[in-house]
Subunit: 294 residues, 2 copies
Amino acid sequence: MFVLKDLRQITVIGLGLLGGSLSLAILRCFPGVRAVGYSHRARTRRKARELAVASEVADDIKAGVTGADIVILATPISTFGEIFAVIRDVLPSGCIVTDVGSTKVLPHLWAAKTLPSVVHYVGSHPIAGSEQRGVEFARDDLFDGATCILTGTKKTDKQAVQTLTGFWSKLGCSVKFMTPAEHDRVLANVSHLPHVAAAALTNASDARELKFAGKGFMDTSRIASGPASIWADVLLANANNTARGIDKIVAELLKLKRAIKDADRQRIQKLLEAARAKRAALIKQKIKSKEMIL
Amino acid sequence: MFVLKDLRQITVIGLGLLGGSLSLAILRCFPGVRAVGYSHRARTRRKARELAVASEVADDIKAGVTGADIVILATPISTFGEIFAVIRDVLPSGCIVTDVGSTKVLPHLWAAKTLPSVVHYVGSHPIAGSEQRGVEFARDDLFDGATCILTGTKKTDKQAVQTLTGFWSKLGCSVKFMTPAEHDRVLANVSHLPHVAAAALTNASDARELKFAGKGFMDTSRIASGPASIWADVLLANANNTARGIDKIVAELLKLKRAIKDADRQRIQKLLEAARAKRAALIKQKIKSKEMIL
């Protein structure tokens, strides 16, 4: 298999905010490499060409992946199985296939089922994004400073993992490795549950009263502005972990409610203080690891 | 009673983030007016003098309110009853007493019970703040662009409401009027419940996994870093509305959980889309009212 310095072509499938930003970042960080983009929407392909987010925007997905050293799926998770089936026969031998989806157990299953043994699948999850969507919001520094989790099993090719580690590091990411199951459990906790909590809080609010919302409500609910279809995909692809996490949040909410109903100041304060302390430790850690700057 | 242009002295009791910022804002917006500050902590009084947040920092609360045209409590809600009792005999006749507490039903009850009839109590709630605390974080523009809700009953003096409307407007606030009960219901919705949700989400998270938290988790949980004792106060002072609101959030969380468990993509998407649309309408409204700038 090729090593990073021999890289000639990377193909990004899907040119939304993530795919567009990825392609722009490749152009910036790998000047000699051809960044080929593909979108199934003609309008997106036109916009991507106008904005020059790729060296070349392919009209056909098979033509797009032909000759690619790395193929990266940046489409909704629910499309991965179908895309694997469409491209499997034209993928060059030794090609690395990855994706930027927010869950990893199902993509690994689909890849094992569909991709030929001459290509190497590794999951990637760069923890970056925004509540915006569309190629017009793409930025070449979206991954700068982000954590990127690579996922693999015992069967995953070590050289492919090493090449992708180099690839994401070059884009500015701090790279970690996990099993798909570990990844999905952790991500339910730190990403999928905040989304569910933000949506539930917003849905529970009276629309007429929201005009009095301050910065607190706006921040706590921000991610509820994310695209519903993408998130429905993510929650479905991580259903068990998400459902278990919802139970945990509900339990914490009811603990607080009971303490409030009992007018038990000490218990309320203890619960709020536990959250404050946990978040203080987290901020300290993020500053130490340079993810956050004070 | 005096009108705004005759204002000579305002006394702020409590010199934390809010009280300190209030005093600084008074110095900036009312150059001819004496801004007197008081804190029960010697250390805070010393810091407040060092930082010159007031024209004068009083060592004694009674001396501090003597001669005041307006007295503003910026201490935890649970201290209001006691403070009213301590200052009641030295408040000048015609003096306006207000506060910046986050709930209003109890302060109105305590004021009616304790303050003499020659002074006028009106509730104020400038919706501004930060998760920081302490006079060292005080800023003279904290109230600029904020909404300030004034609260009163049928018995509340109209001239006092008018004077305070002028006062907060001069500090840059957009002023609204509500009854105390209306205020507490609305604020449970837009402020106290986001806090509870942020704390529950944080408490439900596994501390070891939080190192993978991205911007989504950080924003959704931000306000959980607020001071636990102040928030315990607020939740206790608005117990029924908060408990009812927690039930609503729990109901929304369980709706999402059921849809995820049923693998019902359409229902998940509908719930997420409802939140997204509600938040889009809110952002549109905030841009229109110039509270938010794109």
